[in-house]
């Protein structure tokens, strides 16, 4: 009886744990996710004015940081995902970029021709599907992001220019990829992993997490040493 009770209690705790795990949400992230789903109407015609004119226009209009309402974006537009979806969304700190660049026209380079439209509009209003035969010179949203971000990061020598600097690749489903017998021993599993990830295996063997020691560049008197760490010389009082 007691056993049974114990079992039920355990189950309840487990259930509760699962529930709370599902209930927990990061509020800012959820909000950004919702916003990322929006697809805005396509702007067919844009005003092709010089960037300098654009900038002066924005400055004259008094657009400032206070007008930046959207602090944070998750670049996860369905337009991009409908073709290929290999990467996890990019976090984009909009307001921080606005503050650092201090020139909205750097990104908001054109404006819609419609006079009633906002001075600045979303990237995805003009840049949507790539290779649109009706607008052959208009680059798609994915390319627009990459060209804009990477070009500027390179120019300013700031911010990541490599793929994983901004987003992680989706991990492919390993259900089919992993070929293992039932109840494999650890050696078999390691072998299976190394079949594809051999360089990663080599890399792993050189890391501090594997060796429990490594370089100690921030320890006075030992800055060139490579042997310190928990596995060798580190001391503690707990």
């Amino acid at each position: 009886m007691i056993k049974k009770m114990g079992g039920i209690v355990c189950l309840m705790i487990l259930w509760a744990a699962v529930c709370t795990a599902q209930v927990w949400q990061a509020p800012d992230q959820e909000q950004a996710k919702e916003r990322a789903k929006e697809v805005v109407p396509f702007v067919k015609e844009y005003q092709d004015d010089c960037r300098i004119s654009r900038r002066i226009c924005l400055m004259d209009a008094g657009v400032s940081l206070d007008d930046v309402k959207e602090v944070y974006f998750l670049l996860d537009n369905p337009i991009i995902k409908q073709r290929e979806d290999h990467y996890e969304p990019v976090r984009f700190a909009h307001k921080r970029h606005a503050a650092l660049v201090n020139d909205c026209s750097k990104c908001h380079h054109f404006r819609p021709k419609d006079e009633n439209a906002l001075e600045t509009t979303r990237c995805s209003a003009c840049h949507q599907d790539s290779f649109n035969p009706d607008h052959p010179e208009r680059i798609g949203l994915k390319a627009a992001f990459h060209q804009q971000c990477m070009e500027c990061h390179q120019e300013e020598a700031k911010g990541p220019v490599d793929c994983t600097g901004c987003h992680l690749p989706h991990v492919p489903d390993h259900k089919e990829l992993v070929k293992l017998p039932d109840k494999p021993d650890p050696i078999q599993v390691t072998k299976a992993c190394l079949e594809c990830h051999d360089t990663q295996g080599e890399d792993m063997l050189k890391t501090a997490h594997w060796l429990w020691r490594g370089p100690s560049p921030y320890t006075t008197g030992h800055r060139k040493d490579i042997l310190h760490g928990k596995g060798t010389t580190a001391l503690n009082n707990f």
């Binding site: 503050a99 994983t164 030992h222 310190h228 010389t233 009082n237």
Partner: protein
Amino acid sequence: MPKKDVDLKHVAQNVGHSSRATCGACHFNGGGGDAIKHADMSRQLLTPDRNCDIHMGGYDFDCAECHKTRNHQIAGKSSSVPVAEGVVSCEKCHSDTPHYSGGLLDHHLNDHSRTLACNVCHAPVFAKCKPTKTWWDWSKAGDKNREVKKDKYGQPDYNWKKGEFKWEESGVPDYTWYAGYMDRVLMGDKVDLNADVINLTNPVGSIHDPLSKITAFKIMKGIQAVDADHDYILVPHLFPKDKDDATAFWKHRDWEKAFQAGMKEVGLPYSGAYKWKETWMYWRVNHEVMPAEMALSCVQCHESLKGDQTCNRCHQDNRDIDFKAIAHKGTDFSYMKSMGRDVDHLIEKTDYINFKALGYKGDPIIHGGRFKKLPMGYKAPAD
């Protein structure tokens, strides 16, 4: 080797990116349990409250998003151990001028960024989500009969295996100058037996060094054994290796044997005489960054701004600006208290940072900063 009942096939078929859970499986449990070692990391971070940690709780960051890896080497330098494979800094993302609210304070705050580590203001208390150990007296260990008491957080004050503890929640960090480097006592290093306290890790920095910043630390204090003749820290053998282990402290409760075996294991001679000494370790407070609106306010450090005269000592602005409100804007400890945190003692506190201890003559608003003496027209009070 993994536990027998782990279905490795299932594991292999479900590999993916690391998460807070995977990293936390080890790092949240440092020191032998949840939240014990690190001041700012606990299992609370698996599903953190937004106010507890804005990055993880607000934006759902995973560890590896800041601790970028290259060839499986994970960036980040630990305060406790020497090894580092790259550095993570707030500035990398937030830049050297991270304040851009557009408000009147931005300029002053960005100025502060040159002297203060971000977490001084943005994580003003450590262990805000869960109490952490701050005192650990090994010399008391071994008494299986001692009655274990619970403190106000419900944490035990004693464990016969480990000794006597103290716990702290929402603790005020210690502040010291730090330039990114640590002095460390490593295995076999001589220590001063006559000193009151031996610092196993000690931040390097100076008020005169422009690259040093005031940085928040939790100090892990404790008492541990030192070889009385060789003057180095002793390493005891604690975990019994197997059933026949004849020396492990957690089996035989004999320090003498435990030291002999432990030092043999690490290959250093043991004189046979040991001494209990107080040792400190500095642990930098890096995580549990609070939302911007909960940062310390000006007045919490600068007592000079507490009265009616605040910014208008210098700024004769005739616009309708409430300087006082600006100076007081910041963490509301009473709000934190209402959320169940033990921050009673911090409400109304205005000497959050002990300027004198840091080498200032006093509040820099009155006495001038470390490199700039503001001609405020006030005569500094005699020391």
